[in-house]
Symmetry: C2
Subunit: 175 residues, 2 copies
């Protein structure tokens, strides 16, 4: 899919996914898109756990739903891990790093015919949930679980929320 | 350009850009890619100033260079603005919002045959530089300048830094 099309077609899907598995090869391509994202001083603070074990996916979905995530099911997912280390001196860019990686992943997901949703607040606002997921996935101590991205083929295509018009969010040369 | 190709070909360019202007139409397409990025609770905290006024571009380049940015020139640029407002309760996602928007912009830049660089630390570590840029661009008080993305056609194509191997940054189901 064309890059600009994929960027425009990406949206947060919270409906029902078809019961069609996501091949491991596709999950790998999607994670490789995340790895290709830039990071502050190339510190590569973001790491990825691809999930195609349905029991694990369901368990994490349940935790996110308990915290308010409105999604229904998922056939696969990616958990995003971050190392909260400085890029230089006392400057931290890990949030920028993992956000760029997530956006790459969401575009790759769209380009490959899947949909996803950036589930972050429902994970990070509850340290117990973060810890439970970390234990389930055997996450090394230097990483923190920051987001969960369910993946699958939507039963029914959706679309994203309205955006403010261009003129309210962009200017040329002077605001 | 194919979405996965654009994601892989994106890199931080800090060399010399050709003396070829970036058409306003392309700048608009690039900003629209930024607008298409998701934001926490759709709060759309990110805004964009497209720059094709060479004097403005040069002035901001000089400020960034004074703070250590290693780039040389630029034919156009986009300044990224953020509203540091909560998405819900006391939860802030503006850094995630503008990072996803920047990544979309960098992919669109690549897909359209240009190169760019995510210049953030050299802007935000010096509040005086942020303020000078805000004054130059007449940025409304509710926004903070957080990044500068020079844009142009490279004299000579470059490539990004090496990444750690997949196995060091990704796992399937269990780390």
């Amino acid at each position: 899919m064309d890059a600009l099309d994929a960027i425009k077609r990406r949206y947060s899907f919270r409906g029902i996914y078809k019961n069609i598995p996501v091949p491991r090869d596709d999950l790998k391509k999607i994670i490789e898109a995340g790895i290709a994202a830039p990071s502050g001083c190339n510190k590569q603070t973001t790491a990825f756990v691809g999930l195609d074990d349905q029991t694990l996916v369901n368990s994490i979905m349940e935790l996110a739903k308990k915290n308010g995530y409105a999604g229904v099911n998922a056939l696969a997912a990616i958990c995003i891990l971050t190392q909260k280390t400085p890029s230089y001196a006392d400057k931290y860019f890990y949030a920028q790093d993992y956000s760029a990686a997530i956006e790459n992943i969401l575009i790759a997901v769209t380009a490959l015919g899947y949909a996803s949703c950036w589930v972050e607040g429902q994970i990070t606002e509850d340290p117990q949930v973060q810890e439970q997921i970390a234990q389930m996935l055997n996450v090394p101590g230097e990483y923190t679980v920051v987001a969960f991205l369910p993946i699958g083929i939507p039963e029914k295509e959706g679309k994203g929320p309205e955006r403010k018009p261009f003129e309210e969010r962009a200017w040329f040369n002077k605001c």
